[in-house]
């Protein structure tokens, strides 16, 4: 099956999703994440979840899932968005076990709460921390910003 055919087939099943061409990706509404994920895993044979990560877009948090199908030899990027204050999204760790710790990492660094996650704790940072280091508005006394170089021309 051609890659574009693959995307079109998914699109025909879920008309609310948007297709990104490069890299092959789908932008889906947050509410249909579980439904789309289950369809991708069980019917499109995307049996590997390689990565779950997030991007702070300042007005919202973008969640990125990298899925891989060994049948089609095809890597698919799945994107969805969560609001910045109290971001929540459904967990996919019940579909792909590999997402378990990666979702914990996203929670640790971005503060996204994954609903129905089996064990949502911090994974790397100290347990008593209350803020999330990779947020754009993160402030900490230990975080010293790198001074800007004046360049070569200004003495």
């Amino acid at each position: 099956m051609q890659n574009s055919e693959l995307l079109l087939k998914i699109k025909s099943k879920f008309p609310e999703i948007a297709i990104e061409e490069t890299p092959a990706g789908l932008v889906i509404p947050k509410a249909s994440l579980l439904e789309v994920s289950r369809f991708l895993k069980e019917e499109m044979s995307f049996e590997n979840c390689h990565c779950v990560t997030a991007v702070d877009r300042r007005d919202k948090i973008e969640l990125v899932y990298l899925l891989y199908s060994t049948l089609h030899h095809f890597m698919l990027t799945l994107k969805t968005f969560a609001g910045l204050d109290d971001p929540t999204v459904e967990t996919v760790s019940l579909l792909w076990r590999s997402a378990d710790w990666m979702e914990r990492e996203v929670f640790d660094l971005f503060g996204v709460r994954f609903l129905h996650h089996p064990d949502l704790r911090r994974i790397m940072n100290p347990d008593h921390w209350t803020d999330f280091p990779l947020r754009k508005d993160f402030k900490n006394e230990n975080l010293i910003p790198r001074p800007q170089s004046k360049g070569l021309n200004k003495a």
Partner: protein, 176 residues
């Protein structure tokens, strides 16, 4: 004077003229013994640990200065080599390990990270900006990213010098 040539710090030791007796102050002998068997703690935190392992292996051979006995327990150690980046989460652990070591104890800060945070000084939320910030007194700093095994050996020799030339330690209680 074959004996004098073999023993480091032999300037403090004198052969009794014509005899087979060595005269030395017990303090000097103790310092010589302390400096010649510095047992390090196996405490690698980052890539500096690779150089520390190389120092312990046969090519560089830390055993020839008597420091090759890397112990897994802080209770059997004399010197802690902080080999690598000290993260905030590791800080409590480092302090606890230092407190568990018996006196006399020494600390070598190996590499730029354990001196000042190194390349993680700026734009890092999780790295302690130097081991001394934790209140651990460092005896020898070894710069480098990472330092060569020769640098670590040199640090051990500097530490031996420091031990041999140390004035007798008196606690505040004795001075009163």
């Amino acid at each position: 004077m074959a004996v004098n040539e073999k023993i480091p710090g032999s300037e403090s030791i004198a052969m009794y003229p014509g005899g087979e007796i060595i005269l030395a102050k017990s303090e000097d002998v103790m310092k010589w013994a302390k400096g010649s068997s510095l047992w390090p703690l196996t405490f690698g935190l980052a890539c500096c640990a690779i150089e520390m392992m190389a120092t312990g292996a046969s090519h560089f051979d830390i055993d020839r200065i008597g420091s090759g006995v890397f112990r897994g327990s802080p209770r059997q150690c004399d010197v802690m080599i902080i080999a690598g980046t000290v993260c905030v989460k590791m800080a409590d652990c480092l302090k606890k390990l230092y407190e568990q070591m018996p006196e006399p104890k020494y600390v070598i800060a190996m590499g730029n990270c354990s001196i000042s945070g190194g390349i993680f000084y700026y734009d890092s939320y999780s790295v302690v900006k130097g081991a001394e910030k934790l209140g651990v007194p460092v005896d020898v700093f070894v710069s480098g990213c990472p330092p060569r095994p020769e640098d670590l050996l040199h640090a051990f020799m500097k530490l031996q010098d420091k031990i041999k030339n140390a004035k007798q330690r008196t606690s505040a209680k004795d001075k009163e």
